[in-house]
């Protein structure tokens, strides 16, 4: 099989050299079938787990320091430990992937659904529960079809459902599908949606899902990629897992690098071993900036992440390094922008996303994101006013007070403000809209001022 190349049947995935923990079957054209799964060690981790004590399984996951791959990066084993000894309890799989720039979960569901199902059973077993809901984003019908087929096959083969693999363990995995709402990726909104309601986040406290989640019962919400790691971890053990990646962030991540690079793609990369520079310019990765242009800025972890620049290129890709530098690795989505990019236009586009996706529950976000979009739009359209830059920062401060996380800019006299931001809202959606604004204004204020100055000249009035 060719390596360091695109895989045609998994559009976007690049089969590069290096360890594969979750994408090992991607090079096979039939990677989504039960036959391929079973022929390549599929369900071995589950079979091993079912013959261990549930607490032992949970201990292995905790020992492996499996950091959540959905965005927050919280250790899954620790999260599991927050569940009080109360039943019934539920596992909800978050497959509502919609963060701008992100699409690892779609690839994992489409190309290796059995690995995910196996991960679900391992988690359910460790947590002592028998009902799991797999929530897939509505706009992903192929993932939906592949997972539905995989579940049907796995039920028929005795690998899910009643008396799994001939044991007394019985666990149902129910496929559920969404209908288009970014906010449902937030775990309490996901639970609301799964209860058949509008997907609006719940107040925490008291609604921490581990204690009061689905039907107000203890619930663990885990990301698709997080669960997809479990079969490998149980099969090979925590010590083996920790040989890959870095000490604080073991294992790999599926990173989607898009935008102005020569070879955009989804790459499985060891955490902490590779820098942004390696990723953008390395032969095994993106092979340089498109048209050999200069790099202007990049989003290191999805639309919600503050932007990075040239100065941050040598930071290794791991949450514990990116956070103190002023941003986040988030959902593993990196968007690269070259010198031809208009900072105001790019900023507006990311902000517009949050304005459209705000659920409307909290006033600072509902009103704030709408105004951020309006003000940015008028600057871009040539109708900006001199006070608009300060106005944007002020609106941002109403959603996220205090020093907003920002990357260092030694030449501009800026020091890094570490992630995460503060918030006046229930969930992080509103505060996320402030990321592109502070990033763009603090770095490219001149571009905003030039557009506003041109507008004043055109109208002949200094407002």
């Amino acid at each position: 099989m060719a390596t360091n190349a695109y895989v045609p049947h998994a559009a976007g995935y690049v089969d590069n050299e290096g360890v594969k923990i979750v994408s090992s079957r991607f090079p096979y054209e039939d990677s989504h079938t039960l036959e391929r799964s079973l022929a390549t060690g599929g369900y071995d981790g589950m079979k091993k787990a079912l013959r261990m004590n549930p607490a032992e399984v949970a201990a292995v996951v905790k020992d492996a320091v499996l950091l959540g791959r959905g965005g927050a990066g919280f250790p899954a084993g620790v999260k599991w430990g927050f569940m009080p000894p109360v039943w019934p309890r539920y596992l909800v799989v978050n497959g509502d992937e919609s963060e701008p720039g992100t699409y690892k979960d779609r690839l994992l569901m489409e190309n290796d659904p059995h690995q995910l199902i196996e991960g679900c059973i391992i988690a359910c077993y460790a947590l002592g529960l028998n009902t799991c809901f797999l929530y897939i984003r509505g706009e992903m019908p192929v993932a939906h079809e592949r997972v539905a087929q995989a579940l049907n096959d796995a039920y028929a083969a005795g690998l899910v459902g009643k008396n799994i693999d001939g044991t007394d363990v019985s666990i149902d995995v129910v496929l559920h599908w969404g209908a288009g709402a970014y906010i449902v990726g937030e775990e309490t909104a996901l639970i609301e949606s799964l209860e058949g309601n509008r997907g609006m986040p719940r107040l925490k406290p008291p609604f921490f899902p581990a204690a009061k989640g689905l039907y107000l019962k203890p619930t663990i919400v885990n990301n698709v990629e997080t669960l997809a790691n479990l079969p490998w971890i149980i099969s090979n053990g925590a010590d083996e897992y920790k040989k890959y990646g870095s000490e604080r962030s073991p294992g790999t991540r599926m990173l989607a690098i898009s935008g102005h690079v020569k070879r955009p793609g989804v790459y499985e990369v060891e955490q902490g071993k590779v820098t942004f520079r390696d990723l953008f310019y390395g032969e095994n990765y993106c092979q340089g900036i498109k048209d050999d242009n200069e790099l202007k800025m990049y989003i290191p972890g999805g639309g919600s992440a503050p932007w990075f620049f040239e100065e941050q290129l040598d930071i290794p890709l791991e949450a514990s390094e990116v956070g103190p530098a002023g941003s986040m690795l988030g959902s593993g989505a990196i968007v690269v922008m070259d010198e031809t990019t208009d900072a105001v236009r790019a900023c507006l586009r990311v902000v517009r996303f949050f304005a459209r996706e705000s659920c409307g529950k909290c006033a600072p976000c509902r009103e704030g994101t709408t105004w951020e979009e309006k003000v940015l739009q008028r600057i871009l359209d040539g109708n900006g006013r001199p006070q608009d830059i300060d106005l944007l920062l002020e609106i941002g401060a109403n959603i996220s007070p205090g020093n907003y996380p920002v990357a260092a800019h030694p030449d501009g006299g800026l020091e890094a403000v570490p992630f995460p931001p503060k918030q006046t809202t229930i969930c992080p959606l509103g505060p996320s809209s402030v990321a592109p604004i502070t990033s763009a204004i603090r770095r490219f204020r001149g571009e905003f001022e030039a557009k506003i100055a041109a507008a004043s000249e055109m109208s002949g009035s200094a407002v």
């Binding site: 701008p100 706009e139 019908p141 028929a156 559920h176 039907y215 898009s258 955009p264 639309g303 968007v335």
Partner: protein, 204 residues
């Protein structure tokens, strides 16, 4: 005649049986209703309300939150062009403008012949394949202006049979045979699974 038909009532009942509370089935059921008619009708929402034991207003309350549910007739093909950041950088907005001009409609509009509805959408998770779009939620990657024109011609000529009509989500559905089901219980009565209790019981 836009309550669920007999076949879909059976399907709805099967879906409902997989949830500890009926209302949890609401979003999947709305998809079933949308698949039947191409959009979600008032009569269908009243029917769903009966099936899950809530009011029609509650059904609308939920349905209206979600982008994918449409309450008016849509084109046979919903063309969703992504203009979010990764696609914008590589020409997503120019592609949208070209589509507007070619189809003669603005986002949200439907062509007079009922073939196409156009939408300007947020990230559809194919960012490395920008600019991308979906036709009835099926991806088309790295779409050029010429490629877009070719796609529209193919759709008009009926040359893309693998793309189902608007409203059809998955062509494969989950089905759990009764003898394979572990058992979905009400959250009020469900307790600790026996297999778990037996494994965590203190050693005697």
């Amino acid at each position: 005649m836009s309550r669920l038909n007999e076949e879909n009532v059976a399907l709805a009942e099967e879906i409902i049986s997989r949830y500890p509370r009926k209302k949890s089935a609401l979003i999947p059921l709305l998809h079933v209703a949308q698949e039947q008619e191409g959009h979600v009708t008032n009569a269908a929402m009243e029917h769903l309300a009966e099936l899950v034991g809530i009011t029609p207003a509650e059904v609308l309350g939920t349905a209206s939150f979600y982008e994918m549910f449409k309450f008016e007739p849509q084109g046979k093909y919903m063309v969703n062009i992504c203009t979010n950041i990764a696609c914008q950088l590589l020409g997503g907005e120019e592609l949208l403008h070209h589509a507007e001009k070619t189809l003669g409609i603005r986002p949200g509009g439907t062509t007079e012949d009922g073939m196409f509805t156009l939408e300007d959408v947020e990230c559809i998770a194919a960012c490395t394949e920008a600019p991308c779009l979906q036709v009835n939620y099926r991806h088309e990657n790295r779409v050029t202006i010429k490629g877009f024109d070719g796609l529209i011609a193919q759709l008009r000529a009926g040359e893309r049979p693998e793309i189902p009509n608007h409203g059809t989500l998955g062509k494969v559905r989950q089905h759990i045979p009764a003898d394979r089901l572990a058992g979905i219980e009400s959250p009020e009565t469900a307790g600790t699974p026996e297999w778990y209790s037996s494994r965590t019981a203190p050693a005697s």
